[in-house]
Each structure stands twice: as structure tokens, then as C-alpha cells.
């Protein structure tokens, strides 16, 4: 009797066939509307910093090295792949690619830094309205906004002099740490 049951099992298994993917040896396409690693187009980017303001995990950081040079850094290690940066970008410079094979042994492999050449308003230094106090209005802003007053004091404003120290700091940038540590 056990033999017939085994034969039955084999026949049952033969019917659907092999369903296992040969994934690591053969590529497997992603479904439609899949959000993978965000990709920046530095020719389209105007450096408004809207992506930095809207990122829930604060992966995008804006550094102003001097009056006409802005460095934007993307730290992909804590990215949620939510696609808000792509939604909010006014020039659609950010697109969510289909790249998901991002496994590495080094965190620096999933970072991106972008140097932008900026033109600033001669009158105010910046052309973005960051004085709005209404939170709902702030959410709708497309430019870069400061989180709070404390952070605003820390972030340096654009200067005429090139800040070499800041460049070094941004090269060896480390994620923000808690005050208690």
C-alpha cells in the first residue's frame, strides 16, 4: 500500500512541475510600478532641495559650500524607497529605478553625492521662502526648509568665501548622532 501512495505523491508533484526560480543565476524581472533605488539626473536638478525637505528618513542632505556651489548627498542605507522625492521634484530629476540588487558589505556603496552650480538671489542670498509658519503651507513648499530653529542655527548659510573645512566634513560625513551618546 505504501508504494501506491508514493506513486500517487509523485504523480501529484509531477502535475504542477518545478516552480522554483533559478534566481541568482538567471535575472528575475520586477513587477510593474516597482520602486527601486532612486536615480538623480544632475543635468535636470535645480538644487531646490525639495527632496531633502520631504524625505521621511532624512537620507538627502544639502550642504552649501559657498554662494554658488551646493552639494547634495544621498545616504541610501536608511532609504525607505517610498518615492516621495520623485513625487515632489518639480523638474522630475529623480526617478525610481528598478535596481534592487543593492546588497553590499560596505555602507558607502549605496551613497550618492551631487555637486550643483547655483545661481542665488542677489538680494536675499536664497530664493526660497522659508519664513512660513503654517505647517500645512510648509508641507506644500517645494524648496528646502529647515526642520526647526535649532537646526537652522547649525546649518550654515551661503557665503561668498569657499568653505574648505565644510567640504572635508562632507567628504567624511557621518549620520547624525544623538546628543547623549
Amino acid at each position: 500500500m505504501w508504494l501506491t501512495s508514493k506513486i500517487k505523491q509523485v504523480l501529484l508533484v509531477l502535475k504542477p512541475g518545478v516552480v522554483t526560480l533559478k534566481y541568482p543565476f538567471e535575472p528575475h524581472p520586477v513587477p510593474k510600478n516597482f520602486r527601486g533605488q532612486p536615480v538623480w539626473d544632475h543635468h535636470k536638478c535645480i538644487g531646490c532641495g525639495g527632496c531633502a525637505a520631504h524625505c521621511p528618513a532624512r537620507t538627502i542632505l544639502v550642504r552649501d559650500l559657498c554662494q554658488d556651489l551646493r552639494v547634495m548627498m544621498y545616504d541610501g542605507s536608511r532609504c525607505t524607497y517610498c518615492g516621495r522625492c520623485a513625487d515632489v521634484c518639480p523638474e522630475s530629476a529623480i526617478t525610481m529605478s528598478e535596481q534592487y540588487e543593492l546588497a553590499t558589505n560596505d555602507k558607502n556603496d549605496i551613497t550618492l553625492s551631487m555637486e550643483l552650480f547655483m545661481l542665488t538671489c542677489q538680494r536675499c542670498g536664497r530664493c526660497y521662502n522659508r519664513e512660513k509658519t503654517n505647517m500645512i503651507d510648509k508641507m506644500g513648499l517645494k524648496g528646502f526648509r529647515y526642520d526647526n530653529l535649532e537646526l537652522r542655527a547649525v546649518i550654515q548659510k551661503a557665503t561668498e568665501h569657499f568653505d574648505e573645512k565644510m567640504l572635508e566634513e562632507s567628504d567624511r560625513h557621518q549620520r547624525p548622532r544623538k546628543i547623549g551618546e
Binding site: 516552480v19 522554483t20 526560480l21 534566481y23 541568482p24 543565476f25 528575475h28 520586477v30 538623480w40 544632475h42 543635468h43 536638478c45 521621511p56 528618513a57 532624512r58 559650500l65 559657498c66 554658488d68 556651489l69 545616504d75 541610501g76 542605507s77 536608511r78 532609504c79 525607505t80 524607497y81 517610498c82 535596481q99 534592487y100 540588487e101 543593492l102 546588497a103 553590499t104 558589505n105 555602507k107 558607502n108 556603496d109 549605496i110 551613497t111 550618492l112 553625492s113 551631487m114 555637486e115 550643483l116 552650480f117 569657499f162 574648505e164 567640504l167 549620520r175 547624525p176 544623538k178
Partner: protein, 176 residues
Amino acid sequence: MLSKICKKAFTKSLWIYHCNSGACNGCDIEILNVLTPYYDVERFGMKLVASPRHADVMLISGAVTRPMLPLVKKAYAAIPEPKLVFGIGSCAIGGNCWFDTYNVTGGADKAVPVNFIVPGCPPRPEAIIYGVAVALGLANKKAAPVELKQVEFPVDMYLANKAWEERNVIYKVLND
């Protein structure tokens, strides 16, 4: 070098201990999905084990919360050498959007040394398999740091200007 050691140390099979340190269960479901017949990872000889003392590899999912921190450290200490630690998902790598929250350590690397990271929120089962394949040396890693520049010269130009000004200071002092 690490992959070479892996090839020697883990020739037969990897036994995996799955440690949830405060994840939302998204990454855990994907890890279990990897073991299903569709993404069958047991063909590489991998197997989930219940005790860290039986394991070679520790999968950490979730930003390590404050109550979980000593437990994660204990579980890591219980794994016999040689051991590998995988950070699965954005929470385990950098803390995701809780990277600076008051009761979160902000990533598994603050608690234990992490050897390999698999980003994603949650990572696809393929991404986890790919991470394992990278660790075993079956595949090459594709991610690399990117540097984009709108114009090629600015930083170099500013540095050169500064060097030129500093050089001219000597002549100014001499003239005075």
C-alpha cells in the same frame, strides 16, 4: 577577502538564526518567503534554526530598540565562531525613519558588527537571495558609490584660487 574565508568556512551549508529586533514584520515575512518553494533557498543548504547556538549566520531585521539591545548582543555572543551578520531591511542598516528616535539604537551596527547589508523596505526575496549569493561569492556586488557633477571645475577652481591667494600672502608681507 571575506568571501574567500566564507568559501572555506561555510562550504557545506549555512544555518540561519533569524533575530527580529523590533521590525514591523515586513522583513520577517520576506525572509520566510525566501524559504518557500518559489524562492527555495534550501537548495543552497540554508535552514532556519531556532537557537543561535546552532547557527552560522544571524539575520537581524528591525532597528534595534532599547529593550532588545542587550538581547541582540547576547544572541550574537551565543553564535559559535566563525559567524556572519546580515542586516536585512533599511531599519537594520541605518534605522530607517526612526534613525534618531529616543528609544531606538538606530541600526544593528550600533549593537553588533554587521558584515553584509540588504537594503529595501522590505527587501524583495530576490534581494535577500542576492545578498546571500554575494556573501557566498556566487555573484558580484553591483552597488557602487556615485558622484555626480554639474560642472567639472568648481571645487578644483576654488581650491586653486585659495592656494594662489595663500601663495601671494608671502609677497604682501614682504612688501610691507
